[in-house]
Amino acid sequence: MTATAWWGAIAGVGLAIIVGAYLVAVADRAIASVVAGEPMRSSILAGPARSVALGLVQSRTTTERPDGAAWALAPALYLGLAAAALAVVPLSETLLAADIENGLVLFGAAQALAVIPVFLNGWSPNSILPLIGAFRFIAQALSYEMPNLLALLSVSVPASSLSIHDIVASQHGLWNVVRLPLGLPLFLFAAASLAFWGPMNLPDGADLAGGTQAETSGLHLVAWRAGRAAMLVAAAAMGAAAFLGGWLGPGLPGWAWMVVKTLVLLVLLVGSRHVAARVRAERYVVISWAVLIPLALLNVMIAAVVAL
């Protein structure tokens, strides 16, 4: 790997995260306008930038006796893990930031580690509502983690590889979304849960006055929202690569296909916030274990039978 390629990979992933997170914010506003039956305003495009500016202008609030270091680390680590997860997803057959033999496991590890910053963001302020949000998220994480990993595992069976590049290549002719029909819904469920987005927003819900973000303001809050958007981008990119054939497709260049497929999944994920109500914590856990994990195991068995 040359030095130019090394720096280029880092810059490329950084750019993808920033652009992707901004697109998430724009898509969120656009879908909200459609749902609310309002005309599209110019603020849909410029709004996120203005919110970031507000975050820079606003002061940072604190509480009586917070765990300051852990609190400061939370949004930074969450955003960093999203970026690291995105880095293993190939943009095209030749363009990929980090070609790793066990890329799928690295992606899973980055997602698993993302539990920690969310917990810390709620634990650190020493305030009861964020604290409840933090513990809710651990329950949530323990429930979506298995469907997530099993859905990822199922795509590695036909490819006989844990490298995401090989997994995309294995979909030549037949995409995994057709071959493993249960995989993509399970993966998207886990993706929305990981970014606690929309119906899966248990830790930051309105019943907790914002939950883990209830005591935050200014740039901390902006970074937190950016981290969630980035996590959605990473998951959508992975979903496009693992289930929708990544760069494969006729006509357009590979990277364009990848971008299009990622955007489709991103719109699906972002839109879920405006059409589905937040689920109850306990029911989420029970349904995950009693229904989704058996389905995910079934999906792995289907993958085994299909791949044979």
């Binding site: 790997m1 090394w6 880092i10 992933v13 950084g14 002061s59 940072r60 509480t63 009586e64 006796r65 400061a72 680390l73 949004p75 930074a76 680590l77 955003l79 960093g80 893990l81 970026a83 690291a84 880095a87 070609d99 790793i100 033999e101 799928l104 020493n126 305030s127 009861i128 509502l129 604290l131 651990i138 323990l142 983690e145 298995m146 099993l150 595992l153 590695s156 069976v157 006989s160 590889s161 844990l162 006055a209 209830a214 005591e215 200014g218 740039l219 901390h220 970074a223 306990e282 856990v285 029970v286 009693a290 994990i293 058996p294 195991l297 792995v300 068995m301 085994a304 791949a307 044979l308």
Partner: protein, 119 residues
């Protein structure tokens, strides 16, 4: 060493993201005045808290957490299985069916004991 170069990219991305956010946070807040005592009171709708929020928190899902702990470990075995599955053939499929059904029994037991919900 090719693999390590790829990992160094990931480490650099992770590290620089964290560093950038922390630096931005520090720069943005350096002009803030120190918060006054009422500004530091945790929010719960206007009244101050009686006690510290940090407590022996009764997480209602501790049985499910134990189930997860063991269930998670199965993934250690299943990723290598997925890699060699096609070269090993029917032996592999039989083995994984046994493995999965053993673990599914665990979920069945937990579900039957009603251990998945809030205790």
């Amino acid at each position: 060493m090719v693999a390590l170069a790829a990992f160094s990219v990931i480490l650099a991305i992770l590290g620089s993201s964290i560093a950038l956010v922390l630096a931005g946070r520090w720069v943005a807040a350096r002009a803030d005045l120190p918060a006054t005592a009422p500004e530091r009171v945790p929010f719960s709708g206007g009244l101050p808290p009686e006690v510290h929020a940090w407590n022996r928190f009764h997480a209602r899902y501790y049985v499910m957490a134990l189930l997860f702990l063991t269930f998670d470990m199965e993934m250690v075995y299943m990723f290598p299985w997925a890699v060699v599955f096609r070269s090993e053939g029917t032996v592999a499929i039989g083995e994984i069916f046994v493995f999965i059904s053993i673990l599914a029994l665990g979920i069945l037991y937990a579900w039957r004991e009603r251990s998945l919900g809030w205790s």
